[in-house]
């Protein structure tokens, strides 16, 4: 199975030149940034709310995330990921960076939040094709594999920290995360199996 964490540029009638927001932002279209706020504001806000201790911190965080989106919009490649996933990746980087700077580890909050279990594919239908594929893949994972992957994805914890948090052997955690990611993206497996060819991109 290949999880191609990308939406075909033409799958929804989109083309890079006239539909995706990020290339328009990269060209300096101010209106595109406003549309981006409308389109992805809820997602970024929701992600930040999970990882920030209060409303003021959340506001600062989302502001930083959208500055990052504005700065790095030109790096979006629709062949690699959907726009939604790319925006979430920039948000993740900034939010984890803030966690580190403030030495905060909201492990309990993330673990205890029932919303972080994988929703059904139907419930994600309006989110993105990536999220649907992830939902389908995660439904095939064992609960502890899901949890290890969630901790790694949300908090960027080291394997050792996740092993300690979940009270599992380090090797088990590494295996859960590796196999989980390979289930999400088969192209990682393609790459890691490339051996000495070193030519795949």
């Amino acid at each position: 199975m290949r999880l191609n964490v990308a939406e075909s540029p033409t799958s929804k009638g989109k083309t890079v030149s006239n539909e995706y927001l990020l290339p328009r932002i990269a060209r300096g279209e101010q209106r595109a940034m406003n549309e981006c706020l409308d389109q992805y504001g809820g997602l970024v806000w929701s992600l930040a709310r999970r990882l920030c201790p209060n409303a003021a911190d959340t506001e600062d965080a989302v502001q930083e995330v959208f500055v990052e989106i504005w700065r790095f919009a030109d790096r979006f490649d629709p062949e690699k990921a959907s726009e939604t996933t790319f925006v979430a990746m920039l948000a993740r980087r900034r939010l984890i960076d803030r966690l580190r700077k403030h030495n905060r580890q909201p492990i309990e909050e993330v673990l205890d939040d029932g919303e972080l279990t994988a929703p059904s594919a139907e419930s994600t239908a309006e989110v993105s094709s990536d999220a649907i594929r992830v939902a389908e893949a995660m439904q095939r994972m064992k609960p502890e594999q899901q949890q290890a992957l969630q901790l790694s994805a949300w908090l960027g914890l080291s394997h050792a920290d996740i092993a300690e948090e979940m009270d599992l052997p380090l090797g088990t955690v590494k295996s859960h995360i590796r196999r989980g990611l390979l289930m999400l993206r088969d192209d990682l497996g393609d790459w890691s199996d490339a051996g000495s060819t070193g030519t795949q991109q």
């Binding site: 101010q30 940034m33 999970r50 502001q63």
Partner: protein, 267 residues
């Protein structure tokens, strides 16, 4: 894959997701151990997978970003666009709404009359030099100050209001026509209940149309003294002669019958 490669892959994944101090150089080294010629690109694919997991996690519980946070970010980005000289004016807003009828003329005659009594007060003409290459959270106040310092920016004080309840409102409007950006500064503006009514800004621009331009809706949610609100003009403004605030139904209206609660006007 042998144990060595498995360990290298685990380390590469951990480094990519952890954003730790290993950085690009170590990512590349780990990747090289696996025969991958671009560790950063591999790491990005891992990050994208993690991001997709996060998107999936919040899919059922996505919340709306508060409007005031959006406004703050818009103001921040607008300033950065200005500083980096990549401003593209929004002259084709998708939210443009045609206005018709006669009701829209009510009240605007008052604004026109006020034009005779008030004076444009051009502000500083100094252009700041701040490339702002690094991420920095800019407050709305800083964005307003930056705009105010630009050549071509005008500052119009609110005329002393005469409407009951609004007599003590003070402040001004800062507007740059070239950039199509501006801010309202309001002090002592009465609190509104957004579920009942919202304030709406109108921009009087006879060169554009006899009907005023919708400048966006906003709320005063707390009696917190002075507040700064970015102006969200829904049409390109040609030659603004006055700015006026009305109180309308939630979400605003296309045509307002007034009354004009607060007005700032040019000559």
């Amino acid at each position: 894959m042998n144990d060595h490669n498995t360990n290298a892959l685990d380390s590469l994944i951990e480094a990519a997701l952890g954003q730790d101090s290993k950085g690009a150089a170590e990512l590349d080294q780990l990747a090289a151990d696996l025969g991958i010629d671009n560790g950063a690109a591999f790491g990005e694919r891992v990050e994208l997978a993690a991001a997709a997991v996060m998107v999936n996690s919040v899919a059922k519980a996505t919340e709306e970003m508060p409007a005031q946070v959006k406004d703050k970010i818009r103001a921040d980005i607008a300033t950065r666009n200005t500083d980096s000289n990549v401003v593209t004016l929004d002259t084709t807003s998708s939210r443009t709404t045609e206005r018709s009828g006669v009701a829209q003329y009510l009240g605007w005659a008052c604004a026109a009359a006020l034009l005779l009594a008030l004076v444009i007060r051009p502000d500083s003409t100094t252009v700041p030099e701040d490339p702002a290459d690094t991420p920095k959270v800019v407050t709305t106040a800083e964005s307003r100050d930056s705009l105010k310092a630009l050549a071509g920016t005008v500052t119009l004080a609110w005329n002393p209001p005469e409407i009951d309840g609004y007599e003590s409102v003070t402040g001004d409007v800062v507007w740059n026509n070239e950039l199509q950006q501006g801010y309202m500064r309001l002090a002592n503006m009465p609190v509104n209940d957004p579920s009942v009514a919202q304030y709406q800004l109108w921009i009087v621009d006879p060169d554009r149309d006899s009907n005023p331009i919708d400048g966006g809706v906003f709320d005063i949610v707390a009696d917190s003294g002075e507040i700064l609100i970015p102006i969200d003009a829904k049409l390109s403004v040609l030659d603004p002669q006055a700015f006026a605030i009305t109180k309308e139904q939630p979400g605003g209206v296309v045509v307002s019958g007034g009354p004009l609660l607060v007005v700032a006007a040019a000559t």
